[in-house]
């Protein structure tokens, strides 16, 4: 098959004030083959935009997740996120079969049954955040005081972080992800603090086992002690800002579409509609491979845009509509293939509880600024809001 010259576009970073979904993606999907772009550092990358093609890329054994391969699109690094991928145990950056040992060790912690059992603890966490909001007056920032603390507190209880250390834990993870409000040095320092803390936690659990994820992993021994800190950092980082951004954007979407407040199907639709992890599933070809008729050479970077795939008319009817009744779980907001999000069922429950409790307990909730005045994240690999000022 011969293709005309590929479409060449700017790298799809978000622009201030531009509403979701990102303009231009539709034009990318209609163009045959793949779309060529350049990273902020000048490297060539192929953008993949159709649902079917994104699924194909994420299951192709000739395509790797390992950032050590030449040509891997280091989008995050070029934007200033500290390079965490060097840590042993960072299995999202490994391919099968190395990856699978870590994944298999963690699966029992994230089964549907296991995360359902965490429901009462998550409800309590969400209630405590709402108590604090209500106690503080009649307005607040739902990102700082609701969306960010919930996933951090949930993951720290899962890992067995003692309650007294959770504020420390939360403040460091917050610095790590706030690209706008912290310097590169501050983020590196926060990452080091966390890694040191996690190391200490592992050595404490080695002596005093408890009923928590770290203790159970130590007991089975399937992950070596020197790999554990990397695994724990991954759980922490993978599940924090992703969840927070979804909660924040979801609240705005529900305020704009109040007929869906109280309907749990909104959870799945916010995941698809916002696709916050648009630039997360980065890949590189390790052999020549044809995708959508386009030859991608070994060593060329590939960026599957999950937001584009989740707004593909061939996979979703009227994709631009926020319509929870579609109950569509074939979206790729959690990726696809062996790396599909390990925390997905935990997130579903967190989001469901967060939305339900927030609107039940604060029924007069409203935005304190116009929707187009919300500060959108334009500087990271995740899409979301910097702040979400509300009043009640």
């Amino acid at each position: 098959m011969t293709l005309s010259d590929p479409l060449v576009v700017d790298f799809p970073l978000r622009k201030p004030g531009v509403p979701f979904p990102p303009p231009g993606y539709a034009g990318y999907r209609e163009h045959e083959g793949l779309v060529l772009s350049h990273l902020p550092n000048g490297d060539r990358v192929w953008l993949v935009t159709r649902h079917e093609d994104v699924r194909a890329v994420l299951t192709d054994p000739k395509i790797s997740s390992n950032p050590e391969h030449k040509g891997f699109p280091n989008v995050g690094v070029s934007l200033g996120v500290p390079k965490q991928t060097q840590i042993p145990g960072w299995f999202v950056g490994m391919d099968s079969p190395e990856h699978d040992r870590f994944r298999k060790a963690l699966i029992p912690e994230f089964t549907v049954r296991r995360v359902r059992a965490m429901r009462p603890a998550i409800e309590e966490t969400v209630d405590r955040c709402i108590d604090a909001l209500l106690a503080s007056g009649d307005s607040g920032d739902l990102i700082a005081d609701f969306a960010l603390p919930i996933p951090s507190l949930v993951i720290s209880s899962l890992l067995g972080v003692p309650p007294g250390d959770r504020d420390f834990f939360e403040s460091r993870t917050r610095t790590l992800i706030s690209i706008r409000d912290s310097t590169e040095e501050q983020r590196t320092a926060a990452a080091k603090d966390l890694l040191r803390y996690v190391n200490r936690l592992v050595s404490i659990k080695e002596k005093w086992r408890g009923d928590d994820l770290i203790s159970r992993l130590l007991a089975t021994g399937s992950i070596a002690t020197h790999e554990l800190p990397g695994v724990l950092m991954l759980l922490l980082i993978a599940g924090h800002e992703t969840t927070a951004n979804n909660i924040g954007l979801g609240v705005v979407t529900l305020l704009m579409n109040p007929q869906w407040i109280g309907d749990d199907r909104a959870v799945e639709e916010t995941l698809r509609f916002h696709s916050v992890a648009d630039l997360v599933s980065l890949r590189v070809a390790v052999e020549d491979v044809e995708i959508a008729g386009q030859l991608v050479k070994a060593g060329e970077g590939i960026v599957p845009l999950v937001a584009a795939a989740n707004h593909d008319e061939n996979a979703f009817e009227c994709p631009h509509m926020f319509d929870p009744s579609r109950s569509a779980r074939h979206h790729v907001a959690f990726g696809y293939g062996v790396h599909q999000c390990l925390g997905q069922n935990l997130v579903r429950i967190e989001m469901e509880i967060a939305y339900r409790k927030l609107f039940e307990r604060i029924p007069t909730l409203e935005l304190a600024v116009p929707v187009d005045g919300l500060a959108v994240k334009t500087d990271g690999v995740l899409y979301g809001l910097h702040e979400l000022p509300v009043r009640w």
Binding site: T59, D100, R103, K104, I107, P108, E109, F110, T111, V112, R113, R114, R329, H330, F334, G335, Y336, G337, V338, Q340, C341, L342, Q344, N345
Partner: protein, 63 residues
């Protein structure tokens, strides 16, 4: 219609349990197990699970 599952391929995403809890479960290791052969009532849900499974661990046989 017949269904087979391959626990070696399973990555524990739980899509099958969410789609058809009558048919699929996750065992102690979090890997897929088959609870029953889907009858007429479960057929559509089981097919959906097979389509959603990110690691193609669920195969539908049309015999």
């Amino acid at each position: 219609m017949r269904i087979t599952v391959d626990a070696d391929r399973c990555v524990g995403a739980g899509q099958c349990v969410l789609s058809a809890p009558e048919v699929f479960d996750q065992d102690e290791d979090g890997l897929v197990t088959l609870l029953m052969t889907p009858g007429a009532e479960e057929e559509a849900k089981a097919r959906l699970a097979s389509g959603l499974c990110p690691s193609r661990a669920i195969t539908v046989h049309e015999d």
